[in-house]
């Protein structure tokens, strides 16, 4: 067939190369793509551009003519007020802390658990594995109330973690999904390397630290991305355990702000809260999109 000579035919889609040469089809495809692009731009980018604009617009202008672009000039004061007077800087730092801590706990738990279940394999590994994987089927809804009471009065220790970051960090670590991901990855690592290290007299810890961890960069990357995104997005749990505004992350603080501050400042606060995730996405686009595609295969 002649069309196989066209390089594009390799990664062809539904519309064949032959179809593309027909003017009617080409015009329809072009038109529908143009429409799609406009729809995506308006719906995807539109609200965010509007938020960016509104963050710099005086409150009265946004209320009276929400769609006008800077009818009476730019109001930088909104952002300044939100950051320093409303003290969004505190919640901003808290958000970073919450994300960093959840990330660290999740990485430590997931890699050590994966290591124990996949490579060390103690006698009771089978039971342990079943217990961990079993929690995959327990939706987080069930845990809401008992977990809250647990954090309120941690068993055996008898202290309350309310208003401490530990209340968010520690439960985040109990993620069976992470353990599953890491364990699957470790299962596929070449066993001979570990045995060689063993014969050279490496301890379990050394084997983990100097051999397994350096080999597991890809999976640690995946777990990290999921962990940080989830921590940044979470609302319900942190809103229950972080009651003091001084320890709250942005997502918990924002709803409380809406009644108490001026609209322009409030919209600036919303914009400030979204800017980091959006920038991260624009920089690491490929990683985000690959993660999203992967998410379909493993978990939503």
């Amino acid at each position: 067939m002649s069309k196989t000579k066209i390089p594009d035919a390799e990664d062809r889609g539904i519309v064949s190369v032959a179809d593309w040469t027909k003017p009617r089809i080409r015009r329809t495809m072009r038109a529908s793509h143009a429409v799609l692009l406009v729809v995506l731009a308006v719906s995807g980018l539109g609200p965010l551009l509007w938020l960016g604009k509104a963050a710099l617009t005086p409150t009265q202008d946004t209320l009276r003519t929400p769609l006008a672009i800077f009818p009476n000039g730019i109001e930088w004061q909104n952002v300044v007020t939100a950051w320093s007077t409303i003290h969004l800087d505190v919640q901003f730092a808290n958000t970073l802390w919450v994300a960093a801590g959840s990330w660290a706990v999740q990485i430590v738990v997931a890699t050590t658990a994966g290591y124990a279940l996949s490579i060390l394999r103690p006698k009771y590994a089978g039971v342990l594995n079943a217990l961990v994987l079993g929690t995959l089927f327990v939706p987080s809804v069930v845990l809401l109330v008992p977990l809250y009471l647990t954090v309120l009065d941690v068993p055996f220790v008898g202290i309350s973690l309310i208003n401490t970051f530990w209340a968010v960090w520690l439960p985040a670590g109990a993620s069976a999904f992470n353990v599953l991901l890491v364990k699957r990855f470790f299962d596929n690592l070449p066993r001979e390397v570990f045995e060689a290290a063993r014969t050279d007299g490496a301890s379990s810890f050394r084997l983990f630290w100097s051999i397994v961890l350096p080999m597991s960069k890809p999976i640690v990357g995946v777990v990290s991305v999921f962990a940080i995104i989830a921590a940044w997005k979470d609302f319900l749990w942190p809103s229950l355990v972080l009651i003091d505004p001084m320890v709250q992350p942005l997502s918990v603080r924002l709803p409380a702000l809406q009644q108490s501050i001026e609209l322009g400042v409030y919209l600036a606060a919303l914009a400030i809260s979204s800017i980091i995730p959006i920038l991260l996405f624009l920089v690491f686009q490929r990683m985000f999109l690959r993660g999203a595609g992967l998410g379909g295969a493993v978990k939503g």
């Binding site: 995807g44 209320l63 124990a116 929690t135 809401l144 009471l149 919209l267 939503g300």
Partner: protein, 277 residues
């Protein structure tokens, strides 16, 4: 690791079973009350409302949110230039923190004639709408925002699946003279069957636990028209002036969990057989 899972996963799971049969208020010692909590929840008139609303949310979310990403993904898979731009635009709403997305849309839904959406409607000659302040329009408004926030993720999943469709199938169909529509209907959609089922189940699991939208947009109102199951659980436990009714909350959580567990078993089976192919 054992400690983390023990304290923050296994212990609370066991606790939730125990507590659903107890009367607990943290002040007096818990007492066993048998199935009282379950009976109480089932007899609560809000229970039926919450279930109906949650189902209604799920149905609307399927109507809005199921076909749109599929159509968009099929169209996008045929894009030859600047494909990345399309995906990036589609995915952008997903990276906005959900709380910000809801609060922003809440402002868009301002019912006054100078509200953002009402101003846009005015341009095309439609009068102001009440949006989230009306009993009938509130739920669809919530779903519209949820679809906006979630569609991008589904589009990317479909796009990934579409690249997995073997080109030979299309070549073969063309030999038989199949049109573009027939190729979509007889090859593309059947090839996506597995992933379509998976996103369907994931969507039902997600919508059954919907909380953020009704909580932040309407707090369950107007007139309880947007109260959902998870919101009811939250009210039992954390918004009770008489102290938290943790028994009723865990009883309702367990009932919801049973339903979800069935779905996730189905989901797990599917992904397993699907990833083996």
């Amino acid at each position: 690791m054992l400690l983390i899972f023990g304290i923050f996963s296994w212990y609370p799971i066991v606790q939730s079973f125990v507590m659903s049969f107890q009367k607990t208020n943290l002040v007096t010692a818990p007492t066993f009350v048998g199935l009282d909590n379950f009976v109480k929840v089932l007899q609560d008139p809000l229970f039926l409302t919450a279930v109906q609303n949650t189902v209604w949310f799920a149905v609307l979310a399927l109507l809005f949110g199921y076909p749109i990403p599929l159509i968009a993904a099929v169209l996008m898979s045929e894009v030859r230039r600047a494909k990345g731009l399309f995906s990036a635009l589609a995915y952008l709403p997903v990276v906005v923190p959900p709380v910000v997305a809801v609060l922003l849309w809440k402002f868009f839904y301002d019912a006054s004639p100078t509200g953002v959406f009402n101003s846009i409607l005015a341009m095309v000659g439609i009068g102001p709408q009440p949006w989230i302040q009306s009993i009938t329009a509130a739920m669809p408004s919530l779903v519209l925002e949820a679809t906006w926030a979630g569609a991008g993720g589904t589009i990317i999943i479909y796009l990934a699946a579409l690249t997995g469709v073997a080109p030979e199938l299309y070549d073969a169909a063309e030999v038989d003279g199949a049109s573009i529509w027939r190729k979509i209907w007889h090859i593309t959609l059947p090839q996506l069957r597995g992933i379509l089922l998976i996103t369907l189940i994931l969507q039902v699991i997600g919508t059954a636990q919907v909380f953020l939208e009704p909580f932040l947009f309407t707090a369950g109102g107007p007139a309880n028209s947007t109260i959902t199951v998870l919101l009811l659980i939250y009210r039992y436990a954390f918004q009770n002036s008489l102290g938290g009714d943790y028994g009723a909350a865990t009883a309702l959580s367990l009932m919801l969990a049973m339903f979800l567990a069935v779905l996730s078993v189905v989901y797990f089976r599917l992904t397993k057989s699907w990833s083996q192919n």
